[in-house]
Amino acid sequence: MMAIALYGKGGIGKSTLASNIAAALGSEGIRTILVGCDPKADSTINLLGRRIQPLLEVMRNEKKPPPERFTAIGFNGVVCVEIGGPEPGVGCAGRGLIIGIRYLSEMLDLEKFDLAIFDVPADIVCGGLAVVVKEGYAERALIVTSDEFMSLYAANNLCRGFMSIGAKVGGLIYNKASKSGMRYVASFSQRVGLPILGSVPLSQEIKIAETKRKTLIEMSPFSNISSKLISLAHSIYENSFSMVPKWIPVDDLEGIFLESA
């Protein structure tokens, strides 16, 4: 069983990629579970075409809910779970993730899957959001980034966090990719010692699919972008590389952009 966790700057496309990767591998008979770890509970929406009740909400009413109360089967047989969390501005999402993930792993035999994908919200701003890799639920993290400075800044910050907790990272996923931006991501990749596992260009098709609450793999399985997503999914599933990453000083990160200007 392989377990990976997707991290990256907020809005960079982690959930979009996670659900499309799951859909692509699911279609090949790879038993996949997608665990949404964002309090918004929207990681699995495009696999299911609907929202499901998050685990933490189920647990508020029922202290020991069985798996069928918080799992749903999505497109291509992907098992979907949303951990959930508080409304914005109240409570503690990190604590919720700790409780939810621990309960999930207690109640659900993750070993019966070939692949578990944890879609983790934004940056690892607190210990709770690091729990997925810190406690070993995912054996490696993957960092999703675009070629924008703030996205790479967040990726670098994640590398710093992973280094401090000794967590392994399998590589970078270059989202919203462009030919002109590749050099920035490639330079960053080389400096922090992480390979780029694949890239997906900015796509209107993906946006359209999401408005229909579908993955692009479901809506247009033979499109050019879908083939990119499938290729990325294979690359991730076949990747055995992982290392505790390095991070670079902000001046060096800025240097990547200045050198290329």
């Binding site: 933490l56 969390g85 409570g91 503690c92 604590r95």
Partner: protein, 360 residues
């Protein structure tokens, strides 16, 4: 970085005691039901209702301002309080709970003193200052009274850091000297016609325990002779009404027993300042023995005169021994003994030993 690793008083508990002094009827702890359990029980003995919002994991994750508002409403229905104290806890403050929002939602903000404090807020006096500041902003006390108390609390913090149990990384627990042995020393000075200066330098209600030492020494002096000087921080016109009433009550008892207070060194909430005044008076005319009860380390005369220090807590006893007080008596828990609706001077271990020493 020097870190104090032995247990220390909690800012939340300090806020609760201060709310009691402000005469709130109910204290609501916005936290798990076990938070500040012991101070809560002691304050209940003092006639203050204490409840918690009984936070659980779900509340940490999803927030619990709504639950708190409901509990405040329930408190209103159950106890019809004139004034409510609301304190935070580590859990509720870390997740950013808004106490005032909940009090407003419950329609009780006008009579709720909201204290945004938790046990990681720093020195325990921080909790007391937070409560007093909020009380001042609500018009319950004047800002000048707030400033006076704040100054005292900051002096108390400095005292603890320089001469109290916050001055070392770790201070071990230690038993004091046997009260019987210490009583014999005091009686010996009196029998030989010597002068004993009795210093009461207590904090608020704990004076009801330490005042007994003075009563016992006075009683012994009547039988054995000797001279007595009494210095006490019992000024009846300083502090909150509740604290002033303690001073008045103890002074009345002293008056009935014929105890003459030679000098009022300050109020019962002024022990850091009162201690310095007592020191000056002692050094002006050094006695044969100074018996200092309450917060002896605020009266830095060890080394200058022979001293007996009377305090509570085995860690405080150890600290006083290290500082160099000649004899140190560890009393039973002063809060435990002195809290209660019917305030009166309680029997102390040293007072009992002195009375036994004169055949009482």
């Amino acid at each position: 970085m020097s870190v104090i690793i032995h247990p220390r008083p909690s800012p939340t508990a300090a806020a609760m005691y201060t709310l009691r002094d402000l005469d709130v009827d109910v204290i609501v702890i916005h936290g798990p039901s076990g938070c500040c359990f012991r101070p809560a029980r002691l304050l209940e003995k003092d006639g203050v209702k204490v409840v918690t919002s009984a936070l659980l994991e779900d509340d940490f994750v999803f927030g619990s301002e709504g639950k708190l508002a409901k509990i405040l409403r329930r408190v209103e229905d159950l106890f019809k309080p004139k004034l409510i104290g609301l304190v935070g806890s580590c859990a509720s403050m870390i997740i950013g709970e808004d106490l005032k929002k909940a009090a407003r939602e419950a329609g009780l903000l006008h009579k709720t003193i909201c204290c945004y404090v938790h046990s990681g807020s720093g020195d325990n006096t921080v909790g007391a200052i937070v409560a007093l500041k909020e009380a001042a902003s609500m018009g319950l006390i004047s800002f000048s009274e707030f400033e006076r108390q704040k100054k005292m609390l900051e002096m108390a913090t400095m005292l603890e850091r320089t001469r109290g149990t916050a001055r070392g990384e770790y201070i071990d627990n230690r038993q004091g000297d046997p009260p019987k042995e210490v009583a014999r020393k005091i009686l010996g000075v009196l029998s030989s016609g010597g002068m004993v200066t009795c210093v009461l330098n207590a904090k608020k209600e704990t004076a009801f325990l330490y005042a007994d030492v003075i009563l016992a020494i006075y009683e012994a002096s009547r039988r054995l002779g000797g001279r007595i000087q009494v210095l006490a921080n019992l000024a009846p016109d300083i502090g909150l009404p509740r604290v002033r009433s303690y001073s008045k009550q103890i002074l009345e008892r002293f008056w009935r027993e014929g105890v003459i207070v030679d000098s009022l060194t300050g109020g019962l909430d002024e022990y850091p300042l009162a201690g310095e005044r007592a020191k000056d008076l002692i050094l002006q005319s050094p006695p044969d023995l100074a018996v200092i009860s309450g917060i002896p380390h605020a009266v830095p005369v060890e080394g200058a005169v022979r001293t007996v220090a009377v305090s509570v807590g085995s860690r405080a006893v150890a600290n006083l021994k290290i500082l160099g007080y000649d004899y140190v008596v560890g009393e039973r828990d002063a809060h435990q003994l002195s809290l209660g609706r019917d305030k009166e001077i309680r029997k102390s271990l040293l007072g009992d030993a002195i009375r036994k020493g004169i055949g009482r």
